[in-house]
Amino acid sequence: MIWNDDFETLPREAIESLQLRRLQQTVERVYATVPFYRDSFDRAGVKPRDIKCLADLKRLPFTLKKDMRENYPYGLFAVPLEQIVRIHASSGTTGKPTVVGYTKRDIETWTELMARSFYAAGAHKGDVIHNAYGYGLFTGGLGAHYGAERIGASVIPMSGGNTKKQLMIMQDFGSTVLTCTPSYSLFLAEVAAEEGIDIRKLNLKVGILGAEPWSEKMRQEIEAKLNIKAIDIYGLSEILGPGVGIECIEAQNGLHVWEDHFLLEIIDPDTQEVLPDGEKGELVITTITKEGIPLIRYRTRDITRLTREPCICGRTHARIDRLSGRSDDMLIIRGVNVFPSQIESVLFNIKGIEPHYQLLVDREGTLDTLEVLVEVDEQTFSDEVRKLQQLSGLIQKQIKDLLGVTCKVRLVEPKTLARSEGKAQRVIDKRGNIST
């Protein structure tokens, strides 16, 4: 079912003329109201009036996550704070989060796009939506919540954690739609099995899963273990939150991105050249309706492909492939953004620890695991086991405090972690199979 027929099935030419008009308005507005954009456009020698067609988009400079951090917290807002009705934030690399502000209309847009996404995933009025995305600064919980209410479904604002209670509610309330990370859905299935609950027999029919990369193989596993359709949803807080794109339940083949609100480009992350449709590269998104914090050519670091081929569901909006990785070193562990540099900063602050470390990311059963290998030197080494265990406990605690992720710390001998001339291999991600 389609939530908004008028917009979701617009002919391509109509989408494109709408996009151009909205792009021109956005560019005018950010140039006039956001000093960061005025400076970056001026440096690039481009004025708002130079944007005469969609192809002119590539004349505009990129916006990076770094730019958001450097303008922390409100520097990129295009409206006075009094027009901002909601502020969300995502984890950042230096302990400072990336801040996004929403006007009343932005919340309305987000709600509309989440409503479209729920419909695309096969959820509608009469469904009981079990929302296990975290509520709080993270956009997942509230984003899904508003969209779920909009379509007239009954929302259970579960938030994350407390798995046994989640299962009880799921059974007793008859949840039909589950929204959470893919790994958490498998974890629910695992705990259900331990508790003697046959999760396949519950009312669940669809899982709307996102906030971390997952593979086609994992989808099959989720669908088999929970007896549901597992739908991939895409979003990032900088752009909106969940609901930027979603698979349709009809095809489950690529995620429709709502092109009446976003412009999509795929670039070569190294040369920054725009690539033709069908080629794999970094997804770049320009928001064309956002008021609070419009982003011009935002480099998502997500690697994917773009197709504008028609889809069997009838929607005319472009589709991106399931994400196949990130162009920088950011890790997503159990839905949390983790940068190696954050872990580095923890280690640097602990006296006597060598700044040589390695992160091993893996998936044990259904949950992501993070193991931090740290070199012990002569200053930190002790002949007493207790003292070394205190050291690894301290590292573990500080990482947990900063990132909210529990890791395992393994002390290793000095000089055993590979050094390299250029970029050290700080991360070994064994989860694999993230791409299709």
Binding site: V376, F381, D383, E384, V385, L388, R410, L411, E413, P414
Partner: protein
């Protein structure tokens, strides 16, 4: 009175212990006593050798993480209850033992217990006051 003990950090991977003993053997360092403390991830090998300076040097050259601590060796009659009498003395005087290990003298009827204390000087005082025989460093390294 104190004895030098060498500790070596050992990652849990196969062959690592053999490498340590190989390095020492090649340098002609003789191991007098040893104990290995292990956890699931790493181990700490503690050694008393005949030439600790040399041992430290060759191990460092071999990129091992080492350090040096002071322990004491106590002579205990090699008979039932021998260890217990010493532990009682320590306990009565609230001396905390970090760890200990034992070996039997090549000749004679005594065992030697190596003790690692938090406060070694206090421990020595208590043991001497109670008539316990603490061995010289010399004597232990040349056993």
């Amino acid at each position: 009175m104190k004895v030098e003990q060498i500790s070596i950090f050992i990652e849990n991977k196969s062959g690592r212990l053999a490498e340590v003993s190989g390095v020492l053997g090649e340098a002609n360092v003789n191991i007098r006593a040893l104990s290995l403390a292990d956890t699931s991830d790493f181990g700490i090998l503690r050694l008393i050798v005949d030439d600790s300076e040399k041992a430290l040097n060759v191990l460092r050259e071999g990129h091992f993480t080492v350090n040096k601590t002071e322990v004491i060796g106590v002579e205990v009659p090699d008979s039932p209850g021998g260890l217990s009498s010493i532990l009682k003395i320590l306990d009565n005087n609230q001396i905390n033992v970090e760890y200990m290990y034992a070996f039997v003298e090549r000749s004679g009827s005594n065992a030697v217990i190596i003790f690692r204390f938090d406060n070694i000087d206090q421990a020595i005082k208590v043991l001497l006051n109670n008539g316990v025989n603490i061995l010289d460093g010399e004597k232990i390294t040349s056993i």
